[in-house]
Structure formats: C-alpha cells, structure tokens
C-alpha cells in the first residue's frame, strides 16, 4: 500500500518553504549590488545608519572570502573589480526589509568604469581575452576528408538564455541559538553538502558545527539551485554569525530573475561533408558558450556539448572545437540538458538541412547515417559502445505517420508558394519535424563525489533509507520505498526516506544528471538484496553502499576516451505545428516521442517527467525570451516572461521502448530537451518555408 502522507500534506497547503519560516526575531538581509557591468570600486559614500542596521563588508568575513569551483573563484562580496550588474558588493542587515532597501539605495558606490564585454566575442583579439576554456577533439583526418566529399554544407545555430523559474526564489534561513551546538541553515539546494562546505569555509568553522537542511517538499525545477544556494546561504550565515541573530533572507522574484544564473546561450557553427550516397563523412564544429562572469562547471558543460555532437551519427572524421567565454553578465550555465541540448538542437536542425539539400526523406537519411557497429560514432571506439537505436526512429514514424505527413505538407507548402492567392496560402500553414537525441546519466566528477546509501532495518522491521541525494519528486521517494517494500516484505508505511543530514553523511555530489534515478536507485537495490540475506533473528541490521565510480575513473576528458556516463538514454521526437499566416504565431498540434530509457520503474511518473521536459523545451524554443542590453535584462522582460502553460501543449504521445538494455535504470529528465527543440524548429521551418536557425523563435524567424 502506497504511503500518501507527504503528498496529502502538499495538497493541503502544508508545505514549508524558506518564505514560510516565520521567526519574528529574525533579522533580514539586503544585498547591495553592482550597478555597472565592469568596473573598479574606488570607494563608498554611506548615509547615516540607524543603530538597528549593520553593514557587512568583505573584510568582515571571518574565513575564506571566495567560493571555489575548479579554476573559478567567486567572491562572496566583491569590493574590488565588479564583474556583472547585480554582483553582491556588501550586505545590509536589520529588522525591517523596507528600511534596508531604502538605505541600500542611499549608499553610493564610486566606480572607475572599465570596458565591458557582454556578448560573444566577435574577433580573435576579443576571443583571446574572453576565453576561459578551449578544447579540440579530433577523430580521423577532417582536412583530407573535406577534399574528397561530394557536398559541403556550413551553417550557424544559436540558442538563448532561459530562466529557471523555480517555485520559490533563492533564499535561506539561518537559525541562531547561543546554546546550539551547530549553525543550522535551511535552504533549497540540489547540493546541500556544497552549501555546508562554503559556509564552513567562510566562517572558518569545523565541519561538525554547521548543519544544512532542505525543505521537505522536493522542487522539480531545482536545476537553478545547483550551486547558487551556496552563495545565498553563505551571505545569510555570515550575517547570522556577525550579528548573533537568526537571519531570514529571501530574494524577490524580480531580483532573482535579474541577477541569478540562467541557461547558458550558445553559438554552434557546423560544417559537414557528405559523400555521393548521402552519408556524412566529415563534421567540423565550432561550439561556443557564453557563461557570464563566473563559469561554474564550464568543463562539464563543454564536454557534454562536445559528446552530444558526436553521439548520433557514424561519422568517421570529426573535429570539434569547444570554447567557453567569460563575459560581464551574471553567471550562466547548468540547466536541464546542460550543454547537450544546445548541441543537439544544432546537430538535428543541421541534419534536416543536409537531407533537404540532398532531397532525401528525414527518416531515410537518419537511418542511413545513424551510428552502428558497421559505421561507428566517433566515441564508439571507446570500451563500451553506446549506440542510438534505429528502432526508435521507426517507432516514432509508425506512431506519427511522419513520412506521409511530411511529404504531404511539403507538397502543400510548394503549392502555396506557387499560388499565393490560393486558399491554402491564407489558411494555417502546417509543418512537421523530427529529431533524435540522447542524455547521459552521471556526473563527470563522480570520482570525487561518491553517491552513498545507508539502509537500516530495526528490530520491529521498520526501514530507514538515508542517502546523500536530494529527491527531485515525491514519486522518486515513492519508487525507493516501493523497491525496499517489495524486496524486504515491509509495508511502505513502515519505510522512511530520511532527510539529508550534511553533518552526518559524506558529500555525495549534486543531485543532477539523473544521478538519483540511476545511481541511488541502484544502491538501494544493492542494500536491499544484501539485507535480504540477513537472517530475521539478526535484527537490527544496517547496510551501507556507495558508488564504485569505475566508469568515471575510465573517462579521459582530454582525449574523449573511456566511458563518461553510467548509461545513455535515447529518444526520437516528432512535432507538428500550425502557423497563423497573419501573426506568424505557431501552435503545437501534436507531439510524439519514442523513448529508450531502459527499465521504467513507474510509467506514470516517467510520462510526467517527459511531459515536464517537453513543456520546458517548448518554453526555451518558443516562449521564453531573456536577453541582456548593456549587461542588464530590460525591465519589461520580467513582466512579460512566460513559461509554457497548459494551452501551449497538446497531450503528447509517449512510447517507451527498452530496446538497448531492458534491465538498467536510466535517466529520462533531459530527453525532451535533447529532441523537442530541433523537432519543433524543423516543423516551423517547413511550415514557414524558411529555415529557422535561432531559438527562441521570433515570429517569422526574423
């Protein structure tokens, strides 16, 4: 019997977020932020301060004054050279948030303005200055291959920023109690251990004196809370430490929208060489990402993007140059489909352009070019080959009748173009598009962050699951309980998935990239199967399992050798659209997806996850416009920002085909982001009779 207590609590409005913690004694924090994109701070002019307000500056931080991510150092408070509009300069602490707001406006920061770059660098000189990371991966000999091919096509694709739009803006509550043995921080984070580490370092405290807890209610859109909560929590913890008071610190939705990380935009230039039979022989790519002032996990993003470009097709000669640029914008980076979704959008629109040039049908061209044992992808020389299954293509073709519809709509479009006065030209224009893609499960830094599960069974047969992971949904918790229940013969109501205790469990890394469903689920299964062997008279008992990161150790990220992922899931999507010829506004008519995500543990939840991904992908492709003008998001964008709503999406057809490996549990949260944008854009291009190469789409592709 499924335990529904937690879900009932949500429906009854009993979820508690940071904003719901009412502590009348708690002080508030306001961040004084930079107002120019790049400049050296020369000094400040302070107004007279009421005694209840305290200003906290960088020099007041008792411990480390930066957060470190690989080669990136982020100042907790930057009083020297500000790098983006909105960068935190100092903190104001006091009992009344309105007073803090007013004083913050009265503080004058004197800057020496420095040149700011906010876009992708356009010439070599600028590129040299702005580059953070560059990597070139080559297989075969592309230069010679280009000389031999029959046809060459070169195109450029761009993708934009995307706002996370999580349910509660960033915030943290720090409880101060003179008698307490730990400093307790409550924040929503995908990586509470990282919050713990940053707070411990900035306050110069031993690990055991800090404790981080997260809200019980899992937030499905927590990707934006990957690393930024560490900065917010550090600010709150510093304020609590220095004022000896509890702190409540919550960004406004607008502040969050304007200054916190977004999906990183990309430019992907592709040059493909095709032989006489229509096979892609050679692919050259120039991948660029603008990750703002502080590119956190730049290499992870770049590697995923490079991998995605080579994962689908059997192309013997490739050269992929990937670059991450810094700029004077707020940090941009992790979002569902990190790096891979930008690459796959470009690759799958490019492949549609190639087949159009050759006059082939999309399915025929893809089937001819998909990687296989006979015609391996560049990465299939690695020890464990991951092959995109061609049957997914045939399944989605069968479900959508794609070939026939595509051919019919092509004829209609041609007729319309030749007869602009005909009724077909004035009614809705229709188009249908297809795309393939995949997602890899696992974090490239798994070798450093070992996921861990501890499973205890008490004498009265109650089971406690303690993990190093943040479950992203109730359904996931429910899946874990179901596994333990079935394996150990204990009712689900007697199984507890315990909240994370960062001062008790080791750092298991962030709960992203489907690590929960792949790694944690596997570890729970292993714990259960070991406990099952335990004789009933030997209770209580406890088993601890942690990830053996063999696959992660095998991955050579400089040469792209070995296995980067625990598993790869694949999907094919078809999208059909209608466009109003007057407004050029598109409407999605149908979505079909065939998915190979291995063993599906809960089909309803799997469908839900895919559909949430489709909504996010449609938002990124069509609706969600974020851009910066001179380093600042124009104000109206906040008011007009629109994510996908129920009228924007039809009910999708989703089919699960465990073709590749029906035993493994794989991830599927990023699959829609891998395939929907390109399928949708290919459909729009057919409907408009004009190729779209940039998202988000603007009416008519202008």
């Amino acid at each position: 019997m499924e335990d529904l207590t937690e879900i009932r609590k949500v429906l009854q409005g009993k979820s508690i977020f940071v904003g719901d913690i009412l502590d009348p004694k708690a002080l508030w924090v306001k961040v004084k932020r930079a107002t120019i994109p790049h400049g050296r701070i020369q000094g400040f002019i302070f107004p007279s301060l009421p005694p209840s307000v305290r200003i906290i500056r960088s020099k007041d931080i008792p411990g480390k004054r930066t957060m470190t991510f690989g080669r990136v150092e982020i100042p907790l408070l930057n009083e020297s050279e500000v790098q983006y509009i909105g960068e935190p300069i100092m903190l104001l602490v006091g009992p009344d948030p309105e007073v803090l707001e007013r004083i913050s406006e009265q503080i004058v920061v004197l800057y020496e303005e420095l040149p700011a770059s906010v876009d992708f660098p356009s010439d070599e000189e600028e590129q040299k200055k702005a580059i953070l990371l560059e990597k070139t991966i080559q297989r075969g000999n592309p230069d010679i291959a280009f000389e031999k091919v029959h046809t060459i096509l070169e195109r450029e694709y761009t993708t934009g920023f995307q706002e996370h739009y999580y349910s509660e803006p960033h915030g943290a509550y720090v409880h101060w109690d003179n008698e307490a043995t730990t400093l307790d921080i409550h924040t929503a984070s995908r990586w509470p251990f990282h919050v713990h580490r940053v707070v411990k370092e900035c306050l110069a405290l031993p690990w055991e004196l800090v404790s981080v807890s997260i809200p019980e209610d899992p937030d499905t859109s927590l990707d934006g809370k990957f690393w930024y909560p560490s900065l917010v929590s550090a600010h709150a913890a510093i304020a609590a430490w220095l004022t000896r008071a509890s702190i409540k610190y919550l960004y406004s939705r607008e502040e969050d929208f304007l200054f916190t990380p977004k999906r990183a935009p990309s430019i992907v230039r592709l040059k493909g060489g095709i032989d006489k039979e229509g096979k892609i022989e050679v692919l050259e790519a120039d991948l660029q990402f603008n990750m703002g002032a502080y590119p956190v996990f730049a290499e992870e993003l770049l590697d995923r993007a490079i991998y995605a470009l080579g994962a689908l097709y059997g192309c013997p000669h490739i050269r992929i140059r990937g670059r991450v640029f810094i700029s004077h914008l707020p940090p941009a980076g992790a979002f569902t489909g990190m790096g891979g979704s930008q690459s796959l959008f470009a690759l799958e629109v490019f492949s549609d352009e190639i087949r159009q040039l050759l006059g082939s049908s999309p399915i025929e061209w893809k089937a001819l070019n998909l990687a296989s044992k006979q015609r391996p992808s560049p990465w299939m020389a690695n020890r464990k080959p991951f092959t995109p299954p061609v049957n997914l293509l045939f399944a989605v073709q069968k479900a959508s009748d794609f070939e026939r519809r595509h051919a019919a709509l092509e004829l209609l479009r041609k007729h319309r173009e030749q007869n602009p006065e005909s009724s077909e030209a004035t009614e809705y224009w229709e188009g249908i598009g297809i795309a393939l893609g995949g997602q890899g499960a696992g974090f490239f830094l798994d070798r450093e962050h070992r996921a861990k599960v501890e499973l205890r069974i008490t004498k009265d047969r109650r089971v406690f699951i303690h993990t190093s992971a943040v479950p992203g949904s109730y359904a996931l918790k429910s899946i874990w309980k179901k596994i333990a229940s079935q394996s150990l013969g204990v009712p689900q109501s007697d199984i507890v998935v315990e909240p994370i205790r960062t001062n008790y469990t080791q750092d298991g890394g962030p709960s992203i990239f489907s690590r929960n469903i792949t790694l944690i689920t596997k570890l729970i299964e292993q714990c259960c199967s070991q406990l099952k062997k335990n004789p009933p008279e030997n209770l209580p008992a406890q088993v601890v399992k942690s990830l053996d990161p063999r696959y992660a150790r095998s991955w050579n990220r400089d040469e792209f050798l070995g296995n980067p992922f625990t598993a790869i899931s694949w999907a094919a999507a078809v999208v059909e659209v209608k466009i109003d010829p007057l407004s050029l506004t598109p409407k999605i008519e149908h979505v079909w997806m065939s998915v190979d995500a291995g063993r599906i543990l809960d089909e309803k939840e799997a469908r839900r996850t895919i559909e949430l991904g489709i909504a996010q992908a449609v938002g990124w492709t069509l609706l969600e416009h974020v851009f910066y003008v001179e380093g600042r998001i124009p104000h109206p964008l906040f008011w007009n920002y629109r994510i996908c709503s129920p009228v924007d999406l039809p009910t999708p057809y989703i089919e699960f085909l465990p073709i590749d490996d029906h035993r493994s549990v794989k991830g599927l949260g990023e699959l829609a982001l891998a395939v929907i944008p390109a399928a949708l854009v290919n459909a729009l291009s057919q409907a408009l009779g004009k190729r779209i190469r940039a998202i988000p789409y603007r009416e008519g592709g202008s």
Binding site: I7, G13, I16, L22, R607, E611, P646
Partner: protein
C-alpha cells in the same frame, strides 16, 4: 481602516493599513501559510484564493477590498467534503503538483467544479493558464480535474 470579513467561515474584524495586500493579511496577520507568495506581481498565480467564490490574486488584491466579503483559503477548504473529492481525484491519477502552486490548483479546481461538473479539456487548460509553474504536466492535470468531477458527480448523486 477597520474591515470585517468572513475568513474561512469565521467573522474577523480588524484595523488594517490601507496599503496592506490580502496575501500579507492572510500569511502574516492570520498565519495562513498555505497561500504561497510567488512573485507579488500577479504573474505566477500561486497566491490565488477565493473571494466571494471567485478566484483572485491575493498579491494584487488590497486587503480592504475584502470588507464584508467572504475569503476562502486552503486552510478553510481542506476539511470539507469538496476538498476530499479533489484530494481523491488528484491522488487516483497520481497528480502531484509542487507545494508552491498546489493550494491555488486545489482552489481553482473547486472554483471550476462550482461552475460545471462536466468541464471540458479545453476549458480546464484555459483556466489553469492562470497558474504558471514548471511542476505540472498539463495532461495529468486535465485527467485529475476530470476525475475529481466524476467523483463529485458520484457523491452528489449518492446524496
């Protein structure tokens, strides 16, 4: 200014600042935290409550506007048979919105079913554009509301 309102079935009289928003009256004066504060700009729709049986954005509604009115929040609704129809309908189809928008979704479902017990898919989708959240798969939402409608029809028929 002094206002009197029916809040979750109980008459309340209080002296308020005219600039007070309804959401802050509910959350901070009465501690009704089930009404979530999303954007404070009327954008996300998480803060919606029923005022005189109509859904309103409590962040954009001045508290004085409720004078002599009837306000229903999730706290007042969750003990009613109508609430249990919704809970049952949502759970039967495994529809689990997040804690930020759940209260607004439950109340909006109630408002829709007050108007008709046979809501169409199109009508449901249109009404729920008033709540913007990344947590919801629209097809499951439609299924949940229609399942709830069936449960309520059955219950009312039984009565």
């Amino acid at each position: 200014m002094v206002i009197t309102l029916d809040l979750n079935g109980k008459e309340e009289t209080l002296d308020i600042d005219p600039s007070l928003r309804l959401i802050h009256l509910l959350r901070y004066t009465f501690g009704l935290l089930g009404t979530k504060e999303g954007c404070l700009h009327g954008h996300c729709g998480y803060c919606q409550v029923l005022l005189n049986d109509q859904m309103v954005l409590s962040c954009l509604t001045p508290a004085f506007y409720t004078h002599k009115g009837k306000v229903l929040t999730i706290e007042g609704f969750r003990g009613t048979p109508e609430y249990y129809d919704i809970e049952k309908g949502f759970l039967e189809v495994q529809y689990t919105p997040c804690g930020s928008c759940a209260s607004a979704r439950v109340l909006l479902t109630h408002a829709i079913l007050q108007e008709t017990l046979h809501p169409t898919e199109q009508a449901i989708r249109k009404r729920f554009t008033a709540i913007l959240c990344r947590c919801t798969d629209p097809s499951r939402l439609v299924e949940a509301v229609q399942r709830t409608a069936a449960i309520r029809r059955h219950r009312q028929h039984a009565v």
